[in-house]
C-alpha cells in the first residue's frame, strides 16, 4: 500500500509533483470552474466555445443512428411511399379546412373583443431543426438539435413538434442547442385544463411518455382524457399550445393532493425534426415578458433572461 511515504512509491509512477498535490490543484481548478460556470460569464463563454468543439463529435457519435435512418428511408418500398403520400394529402386537406374555420373564429373573436381587425398570428416565425442526438434516461431527457446561436436560437425558446409542446432550449452552442424535454425531471410547464381552465404545473417524470401533475388538490376537477394546454404563465411557453392528455387520476382519501398522470402529445421518441417558435412579445397571447427565475422550469439557475423585443 502506498502509505509508507513518498519515497517508497516514487519510482513507480512519480515524476513531477506528488499525486496528492496534483489532485488538490485539479480539485481547486474544478471547483473554480463549476462556480464560475454557474455564476460568471467568462467560464460560460468558455463553455460555449467548448460546445462548438464538441459539436462535430456529437454528430459523429450519433451518425450510426442517422445512417440507419437514412438507409431505411432510402429503401422504403413504393407502396409504403404511396400510402404515406395519400395519408399526408388527406391530412393536408383536413388541416386546410381547419385553418379556414379558425380564420373565421379569429375574426369573430376580434369583433367580440372590440378590435378592428383580427390579431396577427402571435408566432412571429418558426424554424425547423433536426435532432442530432437524444439522451433519454430517468435523470435527463434532452435532445441536441442542429441549430444554434448562429441561426438565432436563444435560451428559453419554446420547442414543439406537430402534435404538441416538446420542451424548451436549455443551452445554446454556436451550431447546436440542447433542448430540455417536458418529460425531464427538472422541467416544469404551467398548464391549463381545456375543459374548465383549471391551472396547474406539469412536471417531467423522467419517463419518455409521462408527465406528473403533483400540485392538484384531491377535490380538483380533473379526469382521465382531459386535454392540457400551456397556460402562458411562466414566461416561456405561449398560451394555448397543446401539451398533454391526462391518462390517470388517483385520489387517496388520506392524502391532500391527487396523483395525476398525463401523456405528452409530442412524440419525443419518434421525432426527427422539431420546430423552434419565435413569439411576438407584443401579442396578448405571448408569455409574460419578464420571467422571474423559475427554479422548476430553468434547467440551471442562470440569470433570468428577459426576451429581447425582436426575439
Amino acid at each position: 500500500m502506498a502509505v509508507f511515504g513518498p519515497d517508497v512509491d516514487r519510482p513507480l509512477y512519480g515524476r513531477g509533483p506528488a499525486v496528492g498535490l496534483r489532485l488538490t490543484a485539479y480539485a481547486i481548478l474544478s471547483v473554480a470552474l463549476m462556480y464560475y460556470d454557474q455564476h460568471g460569464h467568462y467560464v460560460q463563454r468558455l463553455h460555449y466555445l467548448l460546445d462548438a468543439a464538441a459539436y462535430p463529435v456529437q454528430v459523429a457519435v450519433s451518425s450510426p443512428r442517422a445512417a440507419w435512418d437514412w438507409l431505411t428511408e432510402s429503401f422504403q418500398t413504393r407502396a409504403s411511399l404511396r400510402a404515406d403520400n395519400q395519408r399526408l394529402n388527406q391530412q393536408l386537406l383536413e388541416l386546410q379546412l381547419r385553418v379556414a374555420r379558425q380564420d373565421a373564429l379569429e375574426q369573430e373573436n376580434a369583433e367580440l373583443r372590440g378590435l378592428r381587425a383580427a390579431l396577427p398570428p402571435f408566432i412571429k416565425s418558426w424554424q425547423l431543426a433536426e435532432i442530432i442526438s437524444v439522451e433519454t434516461n430517468p435523470l435527463r431527457q434532452r435532445v441536441v438539435i442542429n441549430k444554434g446561436a448562429t441561426n438565432g436560437v436563444s435560451v428559453n425558446q419554446a420547442v414543439v413538434d406537430g402534435d404538441g409542446v416538446l420542451g424548451q432550449v436549455a443551452r445554446v452552442g454556436p451550431w447546436s442547442a440542447e433542448i430540455i424535454l417536458v418529460t425531464d425531471p427538472e422541467h416544469a410547464i404551467p398548464v391549463q385544463v381545456v375543459r374548465n381552465s383549471l391551472r396547474s404545473i406539469a412536471v417531467g417524470s423522467g419517463n419518455d411518455g409521462e408527465l406528473l401533475l403533483p400540485y392538484l388538490a384531491i377535490n380538483s376537477d380533473v379526469k382521465s382524457g382531459d386535454m392540457l394546454v400551456s397556460s402562458g404563465l411562466g414566461g416561456v411557453f405561449p398560451a394555448g399550445l397543446p401539451v398533454a392528455r391526462i391518462t390517470g387520476v388517483r385520489r387517496d382519501s388520506n392524502q391532500i393532493l391527487a396523483q395525476v398522470r398525463a401523456q405528452p402529445l409530442a412524440h419525443v421518441d419518434r421525432d426527427r425534426e422539431v420546430v423552434l417558435l419565435q413569439i411576438d412579445p407584443a401579442h396578448p397571447a405571448a408569455p409574460a415578458p419578464n420571467p422571474p427565475i423559475e427554479p422548476e422550469a430553468a434547467p440551471k439557475p442562470k440569470p433570468a433572461k428577459i426576451p429581447e423585443p425582436d426575439e
Binding site: L12, L23, S133, E135, N137, L139, A170, G206
Partner: protein, 157 residues
Amino acid sequence: MSDRHPRLIAFTTTVIAMVLTVAPLATWLAIVRPAFLVLTVLYWSIMIPRAGGLLLGYASGLALDVFQGSLLGEHALALAFVTYLAIRLNLLMRAKPLFEQSLYVFAALMIYETVLWVIDGWSGHALSNPARWAPTVTGALIWPLMVGILGRFHATR
C-alpha cells in the same frame, strides 16, 4: 502488444470508452449502461499508473462535462478523485483476484457517483432517482470483462 506506448494505448481506449459513454442508446439500456469511461480510466490507473495518471482522469472528465452539458468541472472532479484513489491503491488492487477487484471498483464507482450527486445537489439539481446508482452495479459486474479486453493491449507483469 505494443507495450512501448502505454500512454497512446491508454489515450485511445479512453476515447473509445468516451464514445461508448455518450453514444445515444434506448432508455432502458441507458439506465444500466456502465460508466465505461470511469472503468477504463480506473483500469489504466491501477495497471499502469504512469500511462494515464491523474491528467487522463481529469481531462476525460472535463470532456465528459462538455459532451453531457453538465456543470463544467463536475465529472472532472469526481473522476480525478477516483483516479487518485486508484493510483494510490494500485499495488493493493492489482494483487487481488478479479472478484475482489470488482468489489473495489464498486466502491470507487459509488464514490464517483456520490461526488456527482453532491455536486448536483449543491448546484440545484437535487434529484434522488434510484436509477442513478444502477451503473455502479453494472460497472462492477462488467469489470472482469474490461480487464479481459484491456489486458490484451499491454503485457501484464
